[in-house]
Symmetry: C2
Subunit: 330 residues, 2 copies
């Protein structure tokens, strides 16, 4: 089989999100830290789900959201991630393919069920995530098809993949194939606590393997163990070819060895749910970057995609982003 040329292939945890509204008291009662992602085991996942309000299910996963967003913008995306051959796995597979993404990773036939992320959205639109990785633990180097990686302009890796040990090996294999093929490697740091868990490895990775780094303020400060964004920015410069640093309502900065582009956040009437904001920023940036846009315009497309996703409940686009982009850039 000749692999298609893709703009971006994402490797990440294949997760079905279960979203529900919750109040601060609920988070406190269940020992959750607002705005973060925590890994949980099957037992806690069951207990928390029992306590959770009525839910809405949709496909998620950080890199999965990014690639679905890229496809919604008109980009050519592929995804590598592990589901189980169960109903939730069927939902994940359907949704990412229906978004126009190439997804061929074979599901696991036994073992733990498809991963789920319980997402508690508070009235301030913040999301608190509790993730049961399930079948994601089964992703391994054998799931990385060298032909797919070497034909993708960018291989995009989510930091969360550092948690399942076999997946990390898949991740490194993919990064090496991409580099050897003269392609770019992108990484999102995913979460400040994820950075805490894997700091030394991430520092090494950013300096040696990563061309394009995505991080928000808390993540980049955690990576370099500094207290201010300005220090983090200086620590980042020159470590990798491009760093896209997002700052929520304060917009984003694109940092290279010798330039810094400052991009405003796109306006949002009413922020409903910030789930997926970083994922969709990366989608927009990578769509621009792999389709000949300059860094500033790529960042602007990222800002527009992020604004759409936070204006509604859930982390996958509800509006075809191509239409939105045409309207915004007119």
């Amino acid at each position: 089989m000749t692999a298609k040329v893709l703009d971006v292939v994402g490797i990440g945890n294949a997760i079905v999100d279960i979203l529900s509204h919750a109040d601060e008291a609920f988070l406190a009662a269940h020992g959750m830290s607002k705005g973060t992602m925590t890994l949980i085991d099957a037992e806690r996942a069951s207990a928390l789900y029992r306590a959770m309000g009525p839910g809405v299910e949709s496909s998620g996963g950080s890199a999965g959201n990014t690639i679905a967003g890229l496809a919604s913008l008109g980009g050519k995306g592929g995804f590598i991630g592990k589901v189980n051959n169960d109903q939730f796995g069927g939902v994940f597979r359907h949704d990412i393919r229906a978004a126009g993404v190439t997804f061929e990773t074979p599901p696991s036939e036994d073992g733990p069920p498809t991963a789920r992320c319980l997402i508690f959205v508070t009235a301030d639109a913040q999301r608190t995530m509790q993730t049961y990785l399930g079948a994601c633990l089964e992703l391994g180097p054998e799931d990385i098809d060298p032909a797919v990686i070497s034909h993708a302009k960018v291989t995009y890796l989510e930091g969360y993949l550092w948690d399942p040990p076999q997946a990390k090996k898949a991740f490194i294999k993919a990064a090496e194939i991409a580099r050897k093929a003269g392609r770019k490697v992108a990484l999102t740091l995913s979460d400040p606590f994820c950075v805490d868990r894997h700091r030394a490895e991430f520092q090494d990775l950013v300096s040696r393997h990563v061309d394009i780094l995505f991080a928000n303020e808390a993540e980049i400060c955690s990576l370099w163990e500094v207290d201010s964004f300005d220090e983090a920015l200086q620590a980042t410069r020159g470590k990798c070819e491009i760093a896209a640093l997002t700052r929520s309502a304060k917009g984003s900065l694109i940092v290279t060895a010798d330039e810094t582009q400052v991009i405003d956040a796109a306006p949002v009437k009413h922020v409903v749910d910030t789930t997926g904001a970083g994922d969709l920023y990366a989608a927009g940036f990578l769509y621009g970057y792999t389709n000949g846009k300059n860094l500033f315009d790529s960042g602007r497309i990222g800002a527009i995609a992020a604004a759409e996703i936070i204006s509604h409940f859930g982390a996958r686009p509800q509006t075809p982003l191509t239409e939105l982009l045409l309207a915004e850039l007119r």
Copy 2:
């Protein structure tokens, strides 16, 4: 076990909705008639799901939506319906219980999977539904607990239950228990095509067993085979104690033997998705009716609940309806 006193126990098809946006060309290409519900088999369900865009899953089912809405208003609800012991069954069970509804029907352990309804929402906010009944076909008279029915002020039956043959027997058993216990029996006609399939039985049922009838304009015209709403209204009067006839943006009428209350629709800024409008009208009306409100106020609560549900994607409330009610009735 002593059964709790409930305001309403609903009996219906236990369904997980899969919602997606679609355009008119998609409906035409797949032979769908906009705004209606069609029963489909497992094979067509798979084929249509493959063709469908990325989805959002949430618990549904007409009577399920009504009882979840009643609970959201502060009412005491119970639900009887059949899921399979699969992941979608777990989603349905979780959501209805999390809404505060008593749901004790044992799941089927083998046989077809939990029912799903593929819902295609067009840009005009109309929904077109394709339902695979799956495990709903397993609901039978043995699932009707006489103690539960006889302790509920109203037993609420969805017309769609006339489609699975065993469920119809459960339905009739429940209606007879309710009547013997001096309780009320309510029926929603569900869909004009459903009325077409079972007209003679529905006419007999309305005249002999039903105290409270819910129908929209197309359904009530189909029931009496008349062309105008005025004729339908006259045909209905006196056939059952109360008929609540809904007319979308034109509001609703509550018809008894000797009075007719006319209720305006509640204002909605932007109609996003009409899925669940009738179900939530029934929820509001029954909440009022079983909690000492007069017919006019009961209808008004129905209108408010319906307005909330059509302002967003999906058929279960996203806002606690108690809060909304307090705000609206202030």
